[in-house]
């Protein structure tokens, strides 16, 4: 492959175009030169059309003026994966073992791989994910037998994907020949569309129905895609009849996904449906300590507590905050003390504080229970108002750094002991009443994401 001609052409184009145009339309092209033909490969049809319409004449002109100009120049959409980038190569090399599963399906597309780092060993267990973890472990050791399908649901960044990969990795370790396919629901849709376009739907069906385990992430993205749901319905039935394991994740309870066919919703509930809740403080601390160790850093417990206390939304953002602190420490050469962490996360936390105010909590809670905000601040004490008020107070204590007297003041000038009582009451009800627990997690999720 000699791209010298293209390089010279690029040098001329760079002078003709604005830096923005050059970076947007020329840099994504790959050039392949064969037998007097220059093939420009665009990543998608959008880029191809732009280059064809706006640049082909200019490119032809430039090439014509070069001594060893190719006779023909074409621009097409690249369908083959390029050689792996250097960043991916090291990962590839370390996981040539059975941990990574890659295979080419009939259409030459790459089937998604399991991430070797997502195992049960690296999954931090806590009250919020205990049940889901136990179910996943059971499925990994008895695939197709115990819970089929396994349906894991919960908010974003709580570890659903980690758990699914952990099952896949363990199954693979126990049976290296098992065909385990992990993919995101969007990939299923895209593959199906491609198969329809290439008249290869029979191969598509054969492939997905032949696997030993199908792990499919974020099925809420099937919503409104009727043809994909139809196809998935049949795949699902075939796998289930064959005793092949299915695991699905979703951001909500199956019945709550709008735009999903009823027959799918009901089938999703045939096996076991488990929730992952947002992790509580202790789990968040444990997660931070574990992630820090994986990054090769030791984190003082007080620093972990500080970060965990302030970032409550989800594990992914918790990890982002830790990453910021660790990188900042490495860059400046300063040790990670509590003050250092506060400084490094200043911007991030300021933003959080702006989002979670007592006022915002009152508004959200009032909307959730469909009562006016003024009722929360009023002296009324009947249950329909008192419970939401206690909930709002408990959330204010959990999510803001305001003191008990400050919170009491913001709720129509109440005493700090009233706030304390509310916090205790809600904590106790969360243990005994499922409804209260559900309200609490829903509100916590709404407020912190």
């Amino acid at each position: 492959m000699d791209t010298k001609v293209w390089e010279r052409c690029i040098a001329r184009l760079e002078g003709d175009l604005t830096p923005q145009q050059f970076n947007t339309w020329i840099r994504p092209l790959r050039a392949v030169e064969t037998e007097g033909e220059l093939r420009l490969l665009a990543p998608n049809r959008f880029v191809r059309e732009w280059v064809r319409e706006r640049l082909m004449d200019r490119i032809s002109d430039i090439l014509a003026a070069l001594p060893d100009a190719p006779a023909r120049v074409t621009v097409e959409v690249c369908e083959e994966p390029p050689p792996p980038p250097p960043q991916a190569a090291s990962q590839e090399a370390s996981s040539t073992s059975e941990a990574t599963f890659r295979r080419k399906d009939d259409r030459g597309a790459q089937i998604s791989s399991l991430r070797p780092e997502f195992t049960f060993e690296t999954f931090v267990e806590g009250k919020s994910n205990q049940l889901a973890r136990a179910a996943a472990l059971q499925v990994a050791t008895h695939p197709g037998e115990s819970y089929n399908p396994l349906f894991i649901y919960g908010g974003v960044g709580l570890g659903k994907t980690h758990l699914v990969h952990a099952v896949g990795n363990l199954m693979r370790r126990r049976d290296p020949r098992a065909q385990i396919v992990y993919l995101h629901s969007e990939r299923f849709v895209a593959d199906m569309v491609k198969a329809l376009q290439h008249n290869a739907i029979a191969e598509f069906k054969r492939f997905y129905r032949s696997v030993d385990a199908l792990l499919i992430d974020d099925i809420q993205f099937f919503a409104g895609k009727e043809r994909s749901q139809e196809e998935f319905f049949h795949t699902f039935n075939t796998l289930l009849e064959g005793g092949q394991q299915i695991i699905m994740t979703c951001d909500r309870y199956p019945k709550e996904v709008d735009g999903l066919e009823e027959r799918l919703k009901s089938r999703f509930g045939w096996g076991l449906t488990v929730a992952i809740e947002p992790p509580e403080l202790e789990t968040r601390v444990a997660i931070l300590m574990s992630k820090a160790q994986q990054m090769g850093t030791r984190l003082a417990p007080e620093v972990a507590f500080f970060i965990a206390k302030r970032i409550q939304s989800n594990i992914r953002e918790l990890e982002g905050a830790l990453r910021r602190v660790v990188a900042s420490s490495r860059f400046t050469g300063r040790p990670i003390t509590l003050d250092f962490a506060k400084e490094a996360l200043k911007d991030l936390l300021a933003l959080q504080d702006k989002l979670v105010t007592i006022e915002n909590i009152q508004k959200t809670v009032a909307e959730y229970y469909r009562i006016p905000v003024r009722d929360l601040l009023s002296k009324r004490r009947n249950r329909s108002v008192a419970r939401p008020r206690q909930m709002a107070m408990a959330l204010a204590k959990e999510l803001t750094s305001h003191s008990l007297p400050e919170i009491g003041e913001a709720f129509g000038g109440r005493d700090h002991t009233t706030v304390l009582h509310a916090c205790r009451k809600i904590a106790q009800l969360r243990e005994t009443e499922a409804r209260v627990q559900e309200d609490y997690t829903n509100l916590l999720r709404t407020l912190s994401t």
């Binding site: 998608n44 982002g320 400046t332």
Partner: protein
């Protein structure tokens, strides 16, 4: 949300080196520059980077520099997508996982648009799976962008989120004098201070102004001294007054 809002000022078209990392005066943003340079060399540890800050801190400059160095050093194709450009559509995100790097600029322009957000979310997943780095830039951090899809927000917040800050006086002076030196001009300390006291503090606009001054100085065969600048300023003020007078009389 894509309509309206101030348009991004593009950097003046100077020699190629003016768009690289070398011409970016890091000032308070040294960590971001170091991280991006490591990424261009293929040594980065963070596969997702989000840069945020007000207009004029050089987000676009850094993304362009990153693209240029990635192509030059690693020989990899890359994509740069300014999302405030109306000619782009979510279809432009297809297949980008085949490239070596993807840069998204002005992310705030599509925040709140369901089609864009979902397409970006899927892009994040495909890039992560393929091991391709993603660098985004916006006016705000992921939590402050007003994204409707929490999945997208948490994916952007998962990587390195870096706040870019405007340059201080000393750094701006250095920027001006270095840009002048690259153009073969002499710009003394006093002349640089004169400009900084009277001009917008965004590097892109300062450099555009320098380019205009260069043309004037060249035409008159003068150097960029304080007396010369004073004269240019007075001329510009008088011209503005005359214009105002004419408009008032009309």
């Amino acid at each position: 949300m894509r309509a309206g809002g101030p348009r991004q000022l593009s950097l003046p078209l100077g020699p190629a080196e003016e768009r690289g990392f070398a011409s970016y005066v890091p000032g308070p943003n040294a960590e971001a520059v170091a991280l991006l340079r490591a990424l261009a060399r293929g040594e980065a540890t963070a596969p997702v980077i989000h840069l945020w800050g007000p207009p004029g801190v050089g987000k676009t400059h850094l993304l362009h520099a990153l693209c240029a160095e990635t192509t030059r050093d690693a020989g990899l194709p890359c994509a740069y997508l300014p999302l405030d450009q109306h000619e782009l559509s979510p279809r432009a995100l297809e297949g980008l996982e085949q490239l070596g790097l993807v840069c998204l600029d002005a992310l705030e322009a599509v925040a709140g648009e369901p089609l864009w957000e979902e397409a970006l979310f899927h892009l994040c997943n495909r890039l992560r799976e393929a091991g391709v780095p993603l660098v985004s830039a916006a006016r705000a951090a992921p939590a402050g962008l007003g994204l409707a899809l929490p999945d997208l927000r948490s994916r952007l917040a998962w990587g390195q989120v870096l706040h870019l800050r405007p340059l201080g006086d000393g750094d701006l002076e250095r920027l001006l004098r270095e840009a002048a030196r690259r153009r073969g001009l002499q710009l003394g300390e006093e002349a640089a201070c004169f400009l900084l006291r009277r001009c917008p503090r965004e590097p892109a606009r300062l450099l555009a102004l320098l380019e205009q001054l260069e043309r004037l100085a060249l035409a008159e065969g003068r150097r960029l001294t304080v007396p010369f600048l004073v004269r240019v300023w007075q001329g510009a003020l008088e011209a503005a007054e005359t214009l105002q007078g004419q408009e008032g009389g009309a």
